[in-house]
């Protein structure tokens, strides 16, 4: 995967990117994102998420792929859930590696708790608004 970036639709408040936009919920094993592409671009991704019912002053944040590599997250292509098939084809999940998941399981630590404590602040710090 080229080192251009991964995109996530976020609610923008006062022009800021907040860490809460990059948290996992209980039961999730990876952060849902989209690969950056010319077509469909960030505008189409934002429109697809808005069409699903997401509300608020929405923007698109980009995080370089190198950040995910540094954090040892695996990028797994999975089908997206928006109403736009072209956008869904760009969907990926940033997941902890299998060794990391094994360690977390042995320690009894839920994936989302580890992710939100260790990964979320790094992603928020690296995110830049592009739309």
């Amino acid at each position: 995967m080229p080192d251009d970036g991964l995109l996530r639709v976020i609610v923008v408040r006062k022009g800021n990117v907040r860490a809460t936009e990059f948290r996992l919920r209980d039961g999730e094993i990876g952060l849902s994102m989209f690969r950056s592409a010319d077509q469909p671009g960030p505008s189409a991704i934002l429109a697809a998420v808005r069409a699903a019912g997401k509300q608020g002053d929405l923007g698109v944040a980009e995080i370089p792929v190198s950040v995910f590599r540094r954090l040892r997250l695996r990028l797994v292509r999975t089908p997206g859930g928006t109403p736009d098939p072209a956008v869904n084809a760009l969907h990926v999940e940033a997941r902890p590696s299998w060794p990391r998941r094994l360690v977390l399981r042995i320690r009894g630590v839920p994936i989302h708790e580890w992710f939100n404590e260790r990964i979320t602040p790094e992603l928020a710090a690296a995110a830049k608004l592009v739309e």
Binding site: L7, R8, I10, E21, V49, A52, G53, K54, Q55, T82
Partner: protein
Amino acid sequence: MSTSFLSDTSAVRTAVGKLFEEKPPVLVEVRFPKMGASPDWFLCEDAAALDAILDRLGSDTEVYLNSVWDLKNPAGTIVIRGGKACLGGSLAGPADPGPAPTKHAEAADNNPRPTRKE
């Protein structure tokens, strides 16, 4: 925490109605699975307010309902999958038999049904 499944729309409508009747207000979390976006949050005083939220949602969203009085021990979380298409009409009024199933509604029927965590 165990999870029991509410197998039909009348069960989820009853559970939602009971939640608003007995323990308002209700905290509503709308999740957008595999859509690259964080959840939306709302505080609803009645079912009509929830109706307005469900009206705008696509069929692949998930809605989690909790009384604000149960946030520290969220027994009884109600989960609605598929937006309003799965509920057969308004939550605030009587059940609407609705038109014959459309392609959209059939797609929603293929999704797991509303669940209730206990």
